[in-house]
């Protein structure tokens, strides 16, 4: 008896003309609450991962780093409380979106090493900018030499991925010039 009554009333609810709207709103609400919850439990971990990734890369570029300071978007690498180098992130627009490159330089502003941190280039083609066969070419270059060899510089572009290669090269050079100015001005 009770069951039948229940069924009747639920049919009544479903025939209400506002029911679809209310139902969709409830689904959206549930989804939002669930996502807020997942976001909350993963946020700390995600930030930690991003930070760890940068620290890890800094250690790769500067093996004898004691600690680093972060000022004006520049990582100042310290050893015995004296700066031994700098690192920063250069952003360029590639074929598939933004490319972020971590650039490490020494006290004389020559490139020590670059690492592509994130990119959405074509897998297997533009994504080769992450390989050391490409990034290795930047080692020891001064800012004026960080130009593709077809534009008169020192960096060979990846075959079939000139746009990606140029995006990295140009963003590194431009950012490098900017940072050198800041470093000199503030005497970091």
């Amino acid at each position: 008896m009770a069951k039948g009554k229940n069924k009747n009333s639920s049919i009544k609810i479903m025939q209400n003309k506002f029911y679809p709207v209310i139902f969709l709103a409830i689904i959206v609400l549930v989804a939002v609450v669930l996502l807020m919850y997942v976001n909350n439990i993963t946020r700390a971990k995600i930030l930690e991962q991003r930070e760890a990734k940068i620290v890890n890369q800094l250690k790769n570029i500067f093996p004898d780093v004691d600690k680093y300071e972060f000022k004006d978007d520049i990582y100042i690498i310290l050893k015995d409380n004296k700066s031994i180098g700098y690192a920063f992130i250069a952003k360029g627009k590639g074929y598939g979106g933004e490319i972020q490159t971590l650039v490490g330089i020494d006290k004389d502003f020559a490139v020590k090493e670059i690492t592509v941190m994130s990119n959405s280039e074509t897998p297997g083609l533009g994504s080769k900018i992450t390989l050391s066969s490409f990034t290795g070419q930047f080692k020891g270059l001064k800012s004026s030499e960080v130009v593709l060899s077809k534009d008169g510089g020192q960096v060979d572009a990846i075959t079939g991925a000139t746009i990606s290669s140029r995006a990295v090269t140009d963003s590194v050079r431009k950012e490098l010039d900017k940072k050198i100015e800041i470093i000199k001005k503030n005497n970091y």
Binding site: M14, F23, L24, A31, I46, G96, P123, G124, L125
Partner: protein, 213 residues
């Protein structure tokens, strides 16, 4: 009575699961979800990651959509499906970024694009919204596995022909001497995807024809 009923469902469960892999293989038979298939099959790594992601989302969305199928008004069913699917994809991408960052990076843009993978919406509309939960689960796993197997076959051929070597989780498995020096780069590029998929589809058709005879 109860025993026969349970046996029946278990049998149906496996049948539904197997169907997704072979008979209704999403890529080669239904020809669904071709956009991500063309895009991510440049390496076997990406294929495995994408496959795992799609299985998770497909299983989750099939369960939820099947559970609410009787109270979902017909008028708003598509928005409801999309919200459910998008929620699962967002959860997946947060989990990937927090716990498997290398995979998160290599999948890049294709991870959020699982939302618009027509296989998932297709299974919600065709199967999960009309069938009980257990069968929908089987369908989700089966179709998800079918998709993953297809991705693995395509990406294996493309990676081997296009780069001359094979790499899984950063470990180089093998390299073909002459091919790796001058690989057939076209297979890594978009036209290669079309060529490989077309040849495999033809092969599946041929197998189907031979089986019927």
């Amino acid at each position: 009575m109860i025993e026969t009923k349970e046996k029946f469902t278990a049998k149906k469960f496996w049948k539904e699961l197997a169907k997704g892999i072979v008979l209704t293989n999403p890529v080669f038979v239904l020809i669904l979800g071709l956009c991500p298939t063309l895009a991510v099959t440049t390496s076997i790594n990406n294929a495995l990651g994408m496959g795992a992601g799609v299985i998770f989302v497909l299983l989750g969305s099939n369960i939820i959509i099947s559970l609410i199928r009787k109270i979902t008004p017909n008028m708003v069913r598509i928005p409801v499906f999309i919200v459910v699917i998008a929620a699962f994809v967002t959860i997946l991408s947060l989990l990937f970024e927090a716990y498997i960052p290398p995979l998160y990076e290599s999948l890049g843009i294709y991870l959020p694009l699982i939302v618009v993978n027509c296989i998932i919406l297709g299974r919600a509309e065709v199967f999960a919204s009309k069938n009980p939960v257990l069968l929908s689960m089987a369908d989700g796993i089966g179709v998800g596995l079918g998709f993953t197997v297809s991705l693995i076959i395509i990406s294996f051929l493309r990676e081997v022909l296009g780069t001359g070597s094979l790499e899984i989780f950063g470990k180089k498995l093998f390299a073909i001497p002459v091919l790796s020096q001058s690989p057939l780069t076209i297979f890594i590029m978009p036209p290669g995807a079309f060529i490989v998929i077309a040849l495999l589809m033809a092969l599946f058709r041929l197998l189907g024809v031979l089986k019927n005879e």
